[in-house]
């Protein structure tokens, strides 16, 4: 599962936990069960407004059992380990450091390319396109399914459709050809510089 899917699933779990807990407390606190005449099974928690949130009795119900404290500590340790892994998963720079390239068949030659070299090559070539102020390229994904993530800053007098066309026939096509990956997917984000105005404006176009 991708990191995005894990993130969304975990945020959903935490959100549902908060939502259900809050709704239960509110329903009990405003005595919705009594007012609306709702029936609830006997084990249903938090039903009466006069009830404490967590009574001493329910907090200490199992504290004298042998399994209670090892279970509490074990669950907390698992929770912490998961949260720790999840936190560091956000910080990790994704993407392979080296790309294994399909080598021509002359026996035992392994072709490897540092991802940074590819990123810099595409960056440089994209930056040289007309009306481009700068480009930032990252190779993400994994070895088998790499993905180029490109951010291009366009001059505000530039044309996005031309830029896309030039990028696809220029830097991207060259990268795909030289890597032997004709299907290398690309995410391109176009930003436009707001201060791209020339100091001396051209004479206004007459419509």
């Amino acid at each position: 599962m991708s990191r995005a899917a894990v993130n969304r699933a975990m945020v959903a779990v935490v959100g549902l936990f908060l939502l259900v807990g809050g709704v239960l407390v509110l329903a009990g606190g405003f005595d919705l069960y009594g007012r609306l005449g709702l029936r609830h099974p006997g084990w249903w928690p938090l039903t009466s407004p006069d009830q404490p949130l967590v009574s001493v009795a329910s907090r200490t119900r199992w504290t004298d059992r042998d399994w209670w404290w090892p279970t509490v500590i074990g669950v907390l340790v698992l929770l912490l380990a998961g949260a720790l892994w999840w936190t560091f998963a956000q910080l990790r720079r994704s993407g392979p450091a080296v790309l294994q390239l399909p080598a021509p068949d002359n026996g035992g030659v392994a072709l490897r390319l540092r991802s940074r070299a590819l990123e810099q090559a595409v960056e440089a070539e994209t930056g040289d396109l007309p009306d481009v102020l700068g480009a930032r390229v990252r190779l993400v994904g994994d070895q088998r399914r790499p993905l180029l993530r490109v951010v291009v800053r366009l001059r505000s007098s530039g044309r996005p459709d031309d830029l896309l066309e030039r990028f696809h026939t220029g830097p991207l096509a060259h990268a795909r050809t030289s890597l032997g990956l004709p299907d290398l997917p690309v995410d391109l984000r176009l930003r436009v510089a707001t201060s791209g105005r020339k100091a001396e404006p051209e004479p206004p176009r007459v419509l």
Binding site: V11, G15, D50, I73, A83, L84, L164, T194, L207
Partner: protein
């Protein structure tokens, strides 16, 4: 007026099916929630182990247990806390389900997006090039762009020109353009909304 995006050019080898909206990986929110879980769980674990090894419980946990035991469900702080939990829960569910990245608009090429602020900058740049335009404000939303121009320019011409310019930005979805011209003081007031097209 909706700019009809023409069919993608045939030279585009990557068959453009329905363009998928990019989805945010929710990195920042995930990190925030993970750190919150880490802090709460870590504090709890530390204190539980301290108590099990013969140390007294920390005052915060004793106080928390006491409050949970004496506060009833209809106490105002409990209700407020539960209300906050409900709102936070709804917000998290929305974060989990909604695509996010609302500041970017999909372009017709697969995987290509443009910032809405970028569309605004492009349109503003084109508008300033026109004759008799003094000031221009561009507001780009997800499906419509509103351009407010002050000056003596002809709204119909501006509209025609900007419609062509907007069509040159290969946006994936339908996008509407509203042009308003605000006359400067001394000129005849006119609030023009271009003809539907």
């Amino acid at each position: 007026m909706t700019v009809q995006n023409p069919a993608p050019p045939a030279r585009d080898a990557e068959a453009p099916g329905p363009v998928r909206r990019p989805r945010s990986p929710r990195t920042a929110w995930a990190g925030l929630v993970a750190v919150a879980v880490l802090v709460i769980g870590g504090g709890l674990l530390h204190d539980v182990i301290a108590v099990r090894t013969g140390h007294p419980a920390r005052p915060w946990r004793a106080e928390l247990a006491h409050q949970l035991a004496v506060r009833h469900l209809d106490d105002t702080p409990v209700r407020i806390g539960a209300g906050i939990a409900v709102l936070l829960g709804l917000w998290f569910c929305r974060l989990a389900l909604a695509p996010g990245l609302r500041r970017r608009l999909s372009l017709r090429r697969p995987g290509a997006v443009i910032d809405r602020a970028g569309v605004a900058a492009l349109i503003a740049d084109r508008t300033r090039d026109l004759a008799e335009v003094d000031e221009v404000a561009v507001r780009v939303r997800r499906t419509r762009t509103r351009v407010t121009v002050s000056g003596a320019a002809d709204p119909v011409l501006i509209q025609r020109h900007l419609r062509a310019e907007l069509a040159r930005i290969p946006l994936a979805g339908p996008h509407q353009l509203d042009v308003r011209v605000r006359r400067l003081p001394g000129q005849a007031g006119e609030q023009a909304k271009g003809p539907a097209g």
